[in-house]
Structures are given as structure tokens and as C-alpha cells.
């Protein structure tokens, strides 16, 4: 390897400097447009052409808007969109590319150097600032010789308290009745029929064949004037029929199902998504949001995923006409866990005794 000609390497190892020297700004190479008038003219024409393209785009956008008719069909809307959008694209990109091309070919590209100044203020300025603040504190009595701690203390207390005057009523009104016990109850009542979602038609036990699944809402939900979505968000149920030999009835719930027909809350005990996917072969219910998996054959206990608790079971029976009805409300709050859930659970159990026909 041959030696190189540069300020550092032709010195011998003994008297080499501590560190390398900054070689300074690199040599600036002129562009073609800087030296060739023809290239300069050409770049100018290119820039103007790009600006022209933008004007063309504006015309395309406006003409498309005025001429294209929409008939409410997705195809015609897509086409109108595409035409107007393409016009806007040209209108914008023409200006953008033109300006950038102008800057890159015709404006200065020889870099300049500017010194930086330390951000810290000068000592003089700092002293001045401190003096001014001291003077101000002295004048007001916040600090200095004649301090007025009573004024400072009472002002700070008042300032801290004053926002409450505004926030208390505001926040107080934002949570409606604040009765979070509503989490614990749904509209299910003793004798209420299980009906199909969304039609609201009742389901006969004989309609439910082995392996089938029904998405269920309570009878009368569709007739609610108010709070329909809130009630639906809590009351939706999945009704399934398994071969009774596959079904392991849970202790205390032997009479909650009917000949292999069993009903569970559709709201996931993890974070409240509808548990909508039923795998007939494995009797597993899967929540598509976070993939909690519940085993219907074993009291909907969790077999995989982030949920911890089984899906609440709705006790059901069959009425005189052969329709499936609820025996009561759920015996625990449906849906995800929360701080006072267990408290609400005991409330829920006691309210079971009272069977109203509606809210």
C-alpha cells in the first residue's frame, strides 16, 4: 500500500497529532445548469411544464365533479372518486414537483455556514432576570424583607379550590345516574321467551337441533322505547344444543338446561366483545377480538386466551307451548370484570327472588 498525501498520514508514528483534523467543507461541484445556459433553459421549461400539469389537474377535478353523475351504486361512486382524486393528485403534485425541481436545479445549492450560539443566556442577562424577579417579589410581598405568607397561602388555597367550583358540577352531570349497579342486571326475567336476534321471534325447543347455535335476544327487546342498545349490550345470549351425553352439567345447575339445550351470555368475560364463533366439533366458543376460548360442554370454562372466568349461564326451561324461556336473570354480572363485581354478584343473587315481568 502506498502512502497518501494528506495532512495527517505523512507524519511519522512518533509525532502524530492526538486526533484527526476536520478537513472543512467539501469542495462544491457546480451543477449542469450552473455552467451550461442550455441546461439552465431546459430546467426552467421543465419546471413550467410541471406547473402546467397542475393547472391541467385542477381542470380535470372540476370537470369530473361537474359531469360525472352518481346513481348511488358503489361502482359509479368509485369512478367519480377516482376521477376527482386523480385531478387533485395532478393539481398538487405538479406544484410540488415543480417547486422542488426549481429549488434543486436553479436555486442556490452551495451550502452556507452559520455559527450557533449557546442557548444559555449570558450571566449578565441571568443576573438581570433574577434581580427583576426579586424586585417583583419584594414589591408584592411574595418574597423579600416584608413577606406576606398569609396572602400567598390563602391565594394558593383559593386557586387550588376554585377549579372544583367549575369541575364538580360539570363532572357530576357527565355520568348520568352513576348507578354502576346497572352492570349487574339484564332484562331477563322468569318466563321471558328467548327470541331470535334480530327478528325477535320465539324459539321452540324442537327448532334447536343438536349442533345448532342461535343468537338470542330477550322477548320484547325490540319494542323498548329507550335504552334498547344498552339492554341488548348486556342481554345477548347464545343458545346451543349438544348431545346430552357430551354435556357435563355443573354442580348446582343441573336444571338450568333442557335436554342438551343450554344458554350462555354472549358477552366475553375478558373485555366485553361478543363471543360469536362456535366450533360445533369441539364445543368451543371463540371470541374473535382476543381469542378467549370457552368450553360449552364444561360450563363454558376458559380453555385458552385472556379471559379468566367462564361465560355466565342463563337458566332456561320450556314453557307449556314448547317455547324456550328464561328461569331468571343471570346469577352474576355479565361481561368483563371490574372492581365491585363480587358485590354486585351478591346483589344479583338476591334480586333473583323477585321476578318482575319487565323493568
Amino acid at each position: 500500500m502506498s502512502t497518501t498525501e494528506n495532512p495527517t498520514s505523512h507524519e511519522s508514528a512518533d509525532n502524530a497529532p492526538e486526533s484527526f483534523q476536520d478537513p472543512g467543507l467539501p469542495y462544491h461541484r457546480p451543477r449542469r445548469a450552473d455552467v451550461d445556459p442550455k441546461a439552465d433553459k431546459k430546467a426552467e421549461r421543465q419546471v413550467a411544464a410541471l406547473f402546467g400539469l397542475s393547472i391541467l389537474g385542477t381542470i380535470i377535478a372540476i370537470v369530473s365533479y361537474m359531469t360525472l353523475k352518481m346513481d348511488g351504486q358503489i361502482e359509479s361512486i368509485r369512478f367519480t372518486n377516482m376521477a376527482i382524486g386523480f385531478g387533485i393528485f395532478l393539481a398538487m403534485i405538479g406544484i410540488g414537483l415543480g417547486a422542488i425541481h426549481w429549488a434543486k436545479t436553479l436555486m442556490r445549492d452551495h451550502e452556507m455556514v452559520e455559527e450557533r450560539h449557546e442557548l444559555r443566556s449570558s450571566d449578565e442577562a441571568r443576573e438581570g432576570a433574577i434581580q427583576n424577579l426579586k424586585d417583583g417579589a419584594e414589591d408584592s410581598g411574595i418574597g423579600g424583607v416584608k413577606r406576606r405568607p398569609l396572602l400567598v397561602g390563602s391565594l394558593v388555597t383559593a386557586m387550588l379550590a376554585a377549579p372544583l367550583a367549575l369541575l364538580w358540577p360539570q363532572i357530576g352531570n357527565m355520568g348520568a345516574n352513576w348507578n354502576t349497579g346497572e352492570f349487574a342486571h339484564t332484562m331477563w326475567r322468569k318466563g321471558m321467551r328467548l327470541t331470535r336476534d334480530p327478528e325477535g321471534t320465539p324459539i321452540k325447543a324442537s327448532d334447536v337441533t343438536i349442533g345448532s347455535a342461535f343468537h338470542v335476544i330477550p322477548e320484547g327487546l325490540n319494542d323498548l322505547e329507550h335504552g334498547k342498545l344498552e339492554e341488548k349490550a348486556k342481554a345477548v345470549v347464545l343458545l346451543l344444543r349438544l348431545d346430552p351425553r357430551d354435556l357435563n352439567l355443573q354442580p348446582g345447575r343441573e336444571d338450568w338446561s333442557f335436554d342438551g339445550i343450554i344458554a350462555f351470555s354472549k358477552i366475553c368475560t375478558h373485555v366485553g366483545c361478543p363471543v360469536a364463533l362456535y366450533e360445533q366439533q369441539t364445543h368451543h366458543l371463540l371470541c374473535p377480538c382476543h381469542q378467549s376460548t370457552f368450553d360449552v360442554a364444561n360450563g363454558a370454562k376458559v380453555v385458552f386466551g385472556p379471559a379468566k372466568r367462564p361465560l355466565p349461564q342463563l337458566p332456561i326451561a320450556v314453557d307449556d307451548e314448547g317455547y324456550i324461556v328464561a328461569q331468571s336473570d343471570f346469577h352474576e354480572p355479565i361481561g368483563p370484570s371490574y372492581w365491585s363485581r363480587l358485590k354486585h354478584t351478591s346483589d344479583g343473587l338476591s334480586s333473583d327472588e323477585t321476578d318482575g315481568s319487565s323493568h
Binding site: D22, N81, G94, M107, D197, E230, P306
Partner: protein, 540 residues
């Protein structure tokens, strides 16, 4: 004509200046220098997509009705005939199907929202990996960090406005997570939703948040962010003539007015083209919100996906025996929600926000840093950055595990089990590998400085030896490779002074020293002139 125009301009300028002293402002700003690099455009993309959001958003407010009042659809869309839906959803359909260009504006708005968040995150990554957050820019890093959080709030509140079944299920997840907060969670949920979920007030509340509060805050913070950029002057990449005490670049007027101003139109144009060609969030296929249906394989917008992934990853039962939902003294603590949805994002974002200080404790450096690092010259920082990104990407992948499982015919449960371990192992591995790669690259740089570039020319010496001719680097090339700072681990004063008295603040110093060792114990120093001279000597 020209002269008259000139005098008119001068007259106007004089009129305004006599009332605002704006002349001084222009003298200061017009020729302010900005360094040039493609990576400096990432923040610009964020700014410009925000402007596109404001422009398209104003159009959308002219047609959107932020109301949850139930109506029956009676418009041109056959599949929705007679369906009950909120006015919010109905007005979204109306502006999409009956207002010419309305769907285009919705798509421009949604695409630029995705671009906005993506550009912010990429810009943050650039700032992180080049060390642009160091003194004096730590506070501006925090401003930018807050903007990132606000962009998520803006995105999520806007995504929920059409009141479709997909965003409604997203809100239900938010409701469930809110409820899991100990003691006050259920009341916060009532506060947000105005009662039970979904209530009838949420969409109007989200609307105000989405079009007034959040964008207002973003505007103020963008102004502060840019003010600080001007105040600090922009950072620059290393190179000949670029120091911590100067800025090398081109003037704001006209070069950056044209380049950056032009770039706004490029961003707008590309967003318009994408919006014209690619459908996004076709709410008419999902239908209005109904608490009962849900579909598999649907994903939230990308920036929320990592929380969804964490929620999927977290087991309800640890090793099938330890419940992740604790019942203590009659109260329920839902760790299976708190950890993935609140604690994990809190720690992750907290670490990102505080990172500039963590690194400054390790370096102990108090000087202003205006020349950026090449990522390889900060191996631990680069490793941490890659580990954070890996962590995030694993959560995003877990958030799309159903799609991945489907695509590659894998078991969904196995994939989740793999990620449950992977979330701890893979980021650590990523850190270690990245640091190794950085060291490797630094060694290669040393090699280049010491022995020059390979030329591919083989020469035979008189005594028969074949050697490849190496071409020495130019001064500019060498300077790029040797000009980085060689930081040694912190030296601290001993615990006891000579009189045997324990020093105050020793523990804190020792913590900083340990941190410093993690960063700088193992490091590759740049070539010194002495080493270079020796290497050249050896070749003769």
C-alpha cells in the same frame, strides 16, 4: 409596471412594518440555514398530513351529524334499506354515496390520518437513532412525544365517529379496559359514556374531542415544536466542516421555501392519489353498531393494534394455574386487562418519553450536541431502539395473529404461545444482535480508515507475492469515519472521603456509573492518527 409594483410592495411593507416591526423578523428568518438530508423530511410529512387532515376534516364536518339518535335508513344503498342506525352512521353513508367527492374526502382524511401517525413514529425513530434528542433538545423530544400521544387520541376518536359495528366493538373494548381500573374504573366508564355502554351521548362527546380539543392542542404543540426547532437551529449529520458550533445548509428563503413548501403539495398529491385508488374503512360493508354481531379477521387502525395484540397475548390463567384476575377482600383486580392495556403501554411510553434523561445520566455529558450520531456509533442506544421496535412489532403481529395463522396455516393458539415467550426473548435477542452489528460496522470503519478501500486490482511483487492494491480514503471520507466521540464510562468520586465520611449523593452517582458501564464498557474507539501512521508504516 415593474417599478410601480416595487413601490407598491415597498409601501405595503412599510405600512405593516411600522405597525408590527416585522422587518426584524424577516431579517432574522429569511436566510436562516437548514441542513439537507432526506430523513429530515419525515417530520415534514407529519406536519403536512396534519394540514391535509384539517382541510379534509372541515369538509367532513359540513355533512357529518354527530348524533346517536336512531333513524331508519332510506337512501340509495340497497343493502342498508330499512336498517335502523344512528344519525352518525346514516350521515356517513349520505356523504359517501350522495355527495360527489364526499367519499373521496373521507378517504383522504382516513389515509392522511394513518400517514400522520406513521410519519410521527418514523420521525421519532429517526430522532432516536441519530441522538437528536440530546441537549438542548430534550424538552422538544417531550413536546414531540406528547404530539404522538395526541395523534393516537385524534386517530382513535375519529375512527369511532361513524358508529359502525367495527369501531363500536373497539369502543366496547375501551369500556371494558376502563372498568378494570381499580376502585374508580366503573365510575370513569359512566363518566365517559354518560351512563351504561353504549349510551346516547358518546358520539357527540367524541366529536367535540376530535374536531376541537385534540386538534387545538396539536396546533399549539406543533407551533411550540417548530419554535424550538428554530430556536435550537436544526441538527446536522457529521461531515467535513460540520461541528457542534455551526450549522451548514441552505437558506430558508428561497431554497427551503421551495423544497419544503413543494413537498407539502407532493404529500397532498400522493394522499389524494391513494385515496382515489384504495378504499379504506368501507363502513357500509360493516353495518351500523349493534352490540351483538362481530366479525373475525377485522383489525383496528394500525396504531391501536399493539394494544389489541397485548390483550390477546396476556393469558387469563398463568401456566393454567395462577389466575390473572384476583379477588381480594371482595373486590376484583383484573390483571388480565390492567397489565396489557394500561401498565404495558404506560411503561413503554414512559420509557420512550424519559429516554433522553436516561442516556444523559449514562454519558454525564453537559455540552450541547448538534452533530448527529451515525447509529452504529451508539451501539447500546441503537440496540435499545431496535429492541423497542421489535417489542412493538411482536405485539402488532399478535394483534394480527388470526390473519397470520390463516395465511401460513398455523395454529392460532401455538402462535399466541410462541409470542407469549417471544415477547420477552426476541427483543432481548434483537438488542444483542443489533449491538453486535453496530460493533461489526465500527470495526469495518476502522479497517477502512487503516487500510483503505479495496480496489480489486491484484499486483504481483518482484519476489512473487500477490497483493490487492488498497486505495486510501479521502480526507472527507476518513473524517466521516473517525469524527465520532469516544465516550468512556463515568468515573465517580469514592464513597468515603479521606476523613472517612460517607459522601452525599453517592448512591445516585453509583447508579449513573452502572448505567454508564452498560453503555460504554465495551466500545470501539475511532482510529487515531497515530494508529493510522503505524498501519501505514507496517505496509512499507
Amino acid at each position: 409596471m415593474g417599478a410601480r409594483l416595487d413601490s407598491a410592495a415597498a409601501g405595503t411593507a412599510n405600512y405593516v412594518d411600522e405597525r408590527t416591526s416585522i422587518g426584524g423578523f424577516f431579517k432574522f428568518f429569511a436566510r436562516k440555514l437548514f441542513p439537507d438530508h432526506w430523513s429530515f423530511m419525515l417530520g415534514e410529512i407529519a406536519l403536512y398530513s396534519f394540514i391535509v387532515l384539517l382541510l379534509s376534516g372541515v369538509f367532513l364536518t359540513a355533512f357529518f351529524v354527530p348524533s346517536m339518535t336512531e333513524v331508519t335508513y332510506d337512501g340509495p344503498l340497497a343493502t342498508m334499506q330499512g336498517v335502523e342506525m344512528s344519525e352518525a352512521f346514516a350521515s356517513t353513508l349520505h356523504m359517501s354515496f350522495e355527495v360527489p367527492g364526499g367519499l373521496l374526502m373521507r378517504q383522504i382524511h382516513h389515509w392522511s390520518a394513518l400517514l400522520f401517525t406513521a410519519a410521527i413514529v418514523t420521525h421519532m425513530a429517526r430522532v432516536f437513532f441519530t441522538g437528536a434528542f440530546r441537549k438542548p433538545r430534550e424538552l422538544n423530544w417531550l413536546v414531540g412525544f406528547t404530539l404522538m400521544i395526541l395523534s393516537l387520541a385524534a386517530g382513535f376518536s375519529g375512527y369511532s365517529l361513524p358508529d359502525d359495528v367495527l369501531s363500536g366493538n373497539g369502543l366496547r373494548i375501551i369500556e371494558g379496559v376502563t372498568r378494570s381500573i381499580p376502585i374508580v374504573g366503573e365510575y370513569i366508564s359512566y363518566w365517559i359514556f354518560g351512563g351504561q355502554f353504549p349510551g346516547e351521548i358518546l358520539i357527540p362527546r367524541l366529536f367535540t374531542m376530535h374536531i376541537l380539543l385534540v386538534p387545538g392542542l396539536i396546533l399549539v404543540l406543533v407551533a411550540l415544536h417548530l419554535f424550538l426547532v428554530f430556536l435550537h437551529k436544526h441538527t446536522q449529520y457529521p461531515g467535513g466542516g460540520r461541528t457542534h458550533k455551526n450549522v451548514v445548509g441552505l437558506p430558508l428563503f428561497p431554497v427551503y421555501t421551495a423544497k419544503a413548501g413543494g413537498f407539502f403539495f407532493v404529500v397532498f398529491g400522493i394522499v389524494a392519489l391513494v385515496a382515489a385508488l384504495f378504499t379504506i374503512n368501507p363502513v357500509w360493508n360493516y353495518g351500523p353498531y349493534d352490540p351483538s354481531p362481530v366479525s373475525a379477521g377485522t383489525q383496528p387502525d394500525w396504531y391501536i393494534l399493539f394494544v389489541d395484540g397485548a390483550l390477546r397475548l396476556m393469558p387469563g390463567w398463568l401456566f393454567d394455574v395462577i389466575p390473572m384476575e384476583w379477588e381480594l377482600w371482595g373486590y376484583t383486580l383484573s390483571l388480565n386487562l390492567l397489565i396489557p392495556a394500561l401498565i404495558m403501554p404506560g411503561l413503554f411510553f414512559g420509557f420512550v418519553a424519559l429516554y433522553p434523561w436516561i442516556e444523559s445520566w449514562a454519558t454525564g455529558d453537559r455540552g450541547e450536541k448538534h452533530v448527529l450520531d451515525r447509529p452504529r456509533n451508539a451501539p447500546v442506544r441503537t440496540g435499545i431502539g431496535v429492541a423497542l421496535i421489535t417489542f412493538y412489532v411482536i405485539l402488532v403481529m399478535e394483534g394480527s395473529n388470526d390473519i397470520i395463522a390463516n395465511l401460513f396455516h398455523l395454529s392460532l393458539n401455538d402462535l399466541t404461545k410462541f409470542f407469549r415467550i417471544g415477547i420477552f426473548v426476541i427483543p432481548a435477542l434483537a438488542f444483542w444482535i443489533t449491538r453486535r452489528i453496530c460493533f461489526g460496522l465500527q470495526r469495518k470503519d476502522r479497517e477502512l480508515v487503516l487500510h483503505g478501500k479495496e480496489t480489486g486490482r491484484i499486483v504481483r511483487h518482484e519476489h512473487g507475492e500477490y497483493v490487492e492494491v488498497h486505495e486510501p480514503l479521502t480526507d472527507q471520507e476518513r473524517w466521516m469515519l473517525v469524527s465520532y466521540e469516544d465516550i468512556a464510562p463515568l468515573e465517580i468520586e469514592p464513597e468515603y472521603n479521606d476523613r472517612g465520611v460517607r459522601r452525599k449523593g453517592y448512591r445516585w452517582d453509583r447508579f449513573k456509573q452502572r448505567l454508564s458501564r452498560i453503555y460504554f464498557e465495551k466500545r470501539i474507539s475511532p482510529v487515531t492518527p497515530e494508529e493510522l501512521a503505524e498501519a501505514q508504516h507496517a505496509h512499507h
